[in-house]
Assembly symmetry: C2
Homo-oligomer: 162 residues x 2
Amino acid sequence: MTKDTPRQHGRQLPTAEELRIWRDFIETTDVLRSRIASRLQSDSALSPGDYAVLLALTEAPEQQMRSSELAAHIGWERSRLSHHLGRMERRGLIRRQECATDPRGAEVHLTAAGAEAFRGSTVPHLRAIRELFVDALTPEQLLAAGEIAAALRAHLDARQAK
Amino acid sequence: MTKDTPRQHGRQLPTAEELRIWRDFIETTDVLRSRIASRLQSDSALSPGDYAVLLALTEAPEQQMRSSELAAHIGWERSRLSHHLGRMERRGLIRRQECATDPRGAEVHLTAAGAEAFRGSTVPHLRAIRELFVDALTPEQLLAAGEIAAALRAHLDARQAK
DNA sequence: CCTCGACGATTGACATGTCAAACATGTTAG
DNA sequence: CTAACATGTTTGACATGTCAATCGTCGAGG
């Protein structure tokens, strides 16, 4: 395969080895993500999205936030958040109410049930992270993972929208 | 925050620093995944799922495979594959036909349109991988990423179904 | 006033994923 | 032969995501 790779591409295309690493990396992180999600689901009946929303609200002053503030905080598109909040509201985990200061806006409030669900999910979730991620790596690998994430993030941010 | 972490949890829960790395790592790989997917979509009108299926079929002898063989090859649940094949068939990228040797089974065939779509997507996709992943990392980081993926994979495989 | 554009949020249409149940055909034990 | 089980695949219901369009309110300019 390598010897067939046309040379004229120069630095444009990854080598066979780089490609192998890419596939390993992206597929493995996908498996990891889905295993963590499935643990969260079976331990607590929450999706990773639910968890992110509940975490943000739990840490927010008065356990409430403006909808777009919340979206920015967890890095979601507003439409995604709106759909997700609809589902969470149906399940009684959060409540939406008109914003006092800006009639256009909505405030998202944590409900007692939401707070309770989040409280119960935390320890098992952190345990899963420990078992499936932290314990899989040597301390050096863990640090390297942090640096790789930082490098990727910086690179991606630099080419935002390219 | 660190000093507040209750000690009695022992090795069960990640430290604040381990947790920070986890979040960085998982969020960044997610952003990376979605950026690559969106490049693939705009360059070639293919989803990552389409690409995986077309790649497998392109490399298969006679550009065809049994459905469950294909599912195993790309690591998908059969139901997921069945839904996806339905969508790809509607778009004319693949064709399903009854298996000659086993009347229960289905053979998935690459169509000319599918082969064409895959051919056109390859170079831009590899270029995106180079630009967004390979170029973001030093050679050492790239190797480390490969080792981290291998370590995670081995760990996850070892606790399959736990 | 009143219209226009910005802003905050929601909606609808559709692609993608998971789970459990359903189907259809093959094989095997009685 | 036939009931029971195994095998290969599909289906339906529903959760999640993206994209573009919409809706209601605000604020500035005529």
